[in-house]
C-alpha cells in the first residue's frame, strides 16, 4: 500500500464486512498534519482475538489463511513516527484512528480520495457511510443516509446514481482547495 487512501479503504472495508449499519469516516488535514478515523458499530473483535491483531499472518477469517492489513498499517505508522489507536468491543464496534505528519521524510501521499469513497459507497449495500473531510477551514460532507432518504432507495448501485456521486465527490474534494498545496518534507 503506497498511499493513505488505500489503507483507509482496507480498514473501512473491514468495517463494512463486520455487519455495521453505520460507518463514520473522518479525515482531518492541514499543512503539516494528516489524520483519519474509521468508527463502526459492527460486531467488534472478541477480546481473545485482540492480542494477535497486529501480528503478521493472523486472521480469524475462514476465507483465507493470513492477514496483513493491520500489521502493515502499524508498520507504516511506525515508519513515519505517527500514532495508531484501536479500540474494539464485541457487538459494539471498532474504532481505528491514525495521525501522522505530512512533512515526515517517509510520509505517504494521501492518495485518491474520490475513488476510495466511491468504492466504499458501492460496497455499502446494508451500511450507511458518513464521510467528513476537513482541510484547514473547509469541509466536505457526504452522508449516504441523506441520499437514500432523498431518493427513497436502499441500493445506491444504479449507474446514474453512481455517476452523480462520482461528480459530487470530485467537486466537493476540489472545493476544499488542497490541490495547490506544496508540502515540504524534513
Amino acid at each position: 500500500m503506497n498511499e493513505w487512501m488505500m489503507i483507509l479503504l482496507d480498514i473501512a472495508n473491514n468495517s463494512l464486512n463486520a455487519n455495521s449499519s453505520l460507518v463514520k469516516i473522518k479525515i482531518d488535514e492541514d499543512c503539516e498534519n494528516f489524520s483519519f478515523s474509521v468508527i463502526d458499530n459492527g460486531k467488534g473483535i472478541k477480546k481473545e482475538n485482540q492480542k494477535g491483531l497486529f501480528s503478521p499472518f493472523y486472521t480469524t477469517r475462514k476465507t483465507r489463511t493470513f492477514g496483513f492489513g493491520l500489521p502493515l498499517l502499524k508498520e507504516v505508522v511506525n515508519q513515519v513516527e505517527g500514532t495508531l489507536f484501536l479500540k474494539s468491543e464485541e457487538n459494539k464496534g471498532t474504532t481505528i484512528k491514525v495521525a501522522v505528519k505530512k512533512t515526515h521524510v517517509d510520509a505517504l501521499p494521501i492518495g485518491n480520495i474520490k475513488d476510495t469513497l466511491l468504492t466504499l459507497i458501492l460496497n455499502s449495500e446494508n451500511t450507511d457511510i458518513c464521510f467528513e473531510y476537513r482541510y484547514r477551514k473547509n469541509v466536505f460532507l457526504l452522508d449516504t443516509r441523506d441520499i437514500r432518504k432523498a431518493l427513497e432507495v436502499k441500493k445506491l448501485d444504479e449507474p446514474d446514481i453512481l455517476l452523480w456521486l462520482k461528480t459530487y465527490i470530485c467537486e466537493g474534494i476540489k472545493n476544499l482547495g488542497r490541490e495547490n498545496e506544496i508540502v515540504r518534507r524534513t
Binding site: 500500500m1 479503504l9 476465507t63 485518491n112 466511491l118 468504492t119 431518493l151 446514474d160 462520482k166
Partner: protein
C-alpha cells in the same frame, strides 16, 4: 455544485429509460477489492467501469466488489458473469480497459483475449 434535487431529476429520467431496456441479457461485473486488489489499483478500475457503464443504457449491468479471489499476482482482476452463468476472468486490468470491457465484452459479446485469464460455463 451537485445537489440532491438534481439527483432526483436524473433518477426520474433514468427510470423511464430503464423501462425500455432489454432486461433479458444482463451482466454482473465483479472487481476484486481485497488488500491485493486495492494495492494494485482496483479502485481506479472500478471507478472507470462505473463511468463507462453509465454511458450505455442498452444492457443491465451490476458492478460489485468481491474480496481476494486468489490470483493476487494478476490483480486487478475483473470477473464478468452473464445471465447464462458463463464467467470470464480478466487479469492485469487497467482503468483504460474499462471502455473495452463495456464496449467489446458487454455490448458485443467479444472476449478480450489479451486480458483473459479464464472462462467457465
Amino acid at each position: 455544485m451537485k445537489s440532491l434535487e438534481e439527483l432526483k431529476k436524473i433518477r426520474e429520467q433514468s427510470k423511464r429509460e430503464l423501462e425500455m431496456r432489454d432486461d433479458e441479457s444482463s451482466f454482473r461485473i465483479m472487481v476484486g477489492m481485497g488488500t491485493c486488489g486495492i494495492a494494485s489499483g482496483a479502485r481506479e478500475v472500478l471507478s472507470a467501469l462505473v463511468e463507462e457503464n453509465a454511458k450505455q443504457n442498452k444492457v443491465k449491468v451490476a458492478i460489485t466488489q468481491v474480496g481476494c479471489m486468489g490470483n493476487c499476482s494478476k490483480e486487478p482482476i475483473v470477473v464478468i458473469a452473464d445471465s447464462h452463468k458463463r464467467t470470464t476472468t480478466y487479469g492485469f486490468v487497467k482503468p483504460s480497459d474499462a471502455k473495452r470491457i463495456i464496449d467489446e465484452h458487454i455490448l458485443n459479446g467479444k472476449i478480450i483475449s489479451d486480458l483473459l485469464l479464464s472462462e467457465e460455463n
